[in-house]
Amino acid sequence: MEIDAARMVGAGLAAIGMIGAGIGVGNVWASYITAIGRNPAAKDDIGASIWIGFAVTEAIALFALIVGLIVLFG
C-alpha cells in the first residue's frame, strides 16, 4: 500500500521537470516574436529554425512525462 502511495508521489515529482520545459518553450517563442518585431523581413529565415528550437526544448518535458509513466505503469 505504501509502495502505491510512493508511486503516485513519485509520478507527481517527475512532473516538476515540466517547469523547466515550460519556461524554455515560452522563451523560444518570446524570442521569435521579438525577432520578428525587430526585423519582419527575416520571418521566413527564422521560421524554419524556430521549430528545431521548439522541438529540442519540448523533448525535455516529454522525458519528464516518460519518467512519470514508467513510475506509474512500469
Binding site: 524554419a48 521549430w51 528545431i52 522541438a55 529540442v56 519540448e58 516529454l62 522525458f63 512525462l65 516518460i66
Partner: protein
C-alpha cells in the same frame, strides 16, 4: 464501460507464424496497420502522379507541394551535399506523415505511438549518419566532439558533454515522436471519458474534444516535419562537420 486510456495501444497477434531463428515473426495488428498505411501511401502517390504533365492538374499539385517542401528543407538544412539523401528524407517524411495522420482516425492503430517503431527508425538514422560521417572525413570526424575555436583545455569538459549529446540523439529523436503521439491519444481518451460520465453536460467535453482533435492533427504533421528536419541537420553535421 470506461476502458483504460492505455488500452488502445495494445498489440495482439492476428496470425501466428512459426518463429524464425528464435524471433517471433507473427503478424500483429501493428503489422496489419503499417501495411495498410503503406498501401494508402503508395495509392495516394500513384493516383497523384499517374499522368505527370508540365502544367500540373489539381491532383499533381498535391504531390508536387510535398516534394518541393522536402526538397527545400533538405537544401537549406543539409546543404547541396545533402541532396543525394533527399529520397530517403522524403520517404521518411511521407511515411511518418501518413502514420501520424491516419492514427487520428478512430479505431485506426497509431503505428508511431510505439517506441519500437520510432526507435528503430531513429537508430538506423543514427548509425547511417555516423557511417556517412566516417566515410566522408575518416577519423577526422572525431573533431566533431571538439567545438571549433574553443581553447584546448576546455576539451576536458566539452568532449564528454558533446559525446553524451551525440549519443542521446537517437533517444531524443524517437522519444519525441513516440511521446507526442501517445500523449495525444491518451488525452483524447481521457476527455472522451469525461463526456461519458457527465450526461447532458457532456456536450462541453465533446466540444473541447473537437478543438483537441484539430490540435492533434497539427501535432501529427508537425512531428513528422520535425523528425525529417532533425534528420537533415544530423546529415549536415556528418557531411560538413558543423
Amino acid at each position: 464501460m470506461a476502458a483504460s486510456p492505455m488500452e488502445q495501444f495494445n498489440v495482439y497477434t492476428v496470425m501466428d507464424l512459426p518463429p524464425v531463428f528464435g524471433l517471433d515473426l507473427s503478424v500483429t495488428n501493428a503489422t496489419v496497420f503499417m501495411v495498410l498505411n503503406l498501401v494508402l501511401l503508395v495509392g495516394v502517390f500513384a493516383l497523384t502522379t499517374s499522368r505527370v504533365r508540365l502544367i500540373p492538374d489539381r491532383r499533381q499539385v498535391i504531390a508536387e507541394t510535398i516534394y518541393e517542401m522536402i526538397a527545400g528543407m533538405v537544401r537549406t538544412n543539409a546543404g547541396k551535399k545533402g541532396m543525394p539523401y533527399f529520397p530517403f528524407v522524403f520517404s521518411l517524411f511521407v511515411f511518418l506523415l501518413i502514420s501520424n495522420v491516419t492514427g487520428m482516425i478512430p479505431g485506426w492503430f497509431t503505428v508511431t505511438s510505439h517506441i519500437a517503431v520510432t526507435f528503430a527508425l531513429a537508430a538506423f538514422i543514427f548509425i547511417g549518419v555516423t557511417i556517412i560521417g566516417f566515410v566522408q572525413h575518416g577519423l577526422g570526424y572525431l573533431r566533431m566532439f571538439m567545438p571549433h575555436g574553443a581553447p584546448w583545455w576546455t576539451g576536458f569538459i566539452l568532449i564528454p558533454v558533446e559525446i553524451v549529446s551525440y549519443l542521446s540523439r537517437p533517444i531524443s529523436l524517437s522519444v519525441r515522436l513516440f511521446a507526442n503521439m501517445t500523449v495525444g491519444h491518451v488525452l483524447l481518451k481521457v476527455i472522451a471519458g469525461f463526456a461519458v460520465v457527465m450526461g447532458v453536460l457532456g456536450i462541453f467535453p465533446v466540444a473541447f474534444l473537437l478543438a483537441l482533435t484539430v490540435l492533434e492533427l497539427f501535432v501529427a504533421v508537425l512531428q513528422a516535419y520535425i523528425f525529417a528536419i532533425l534528420t537533415c541537420i544530423y546529415l549536415h553535421d556528418a557531411l560538413s562537420l558543423h
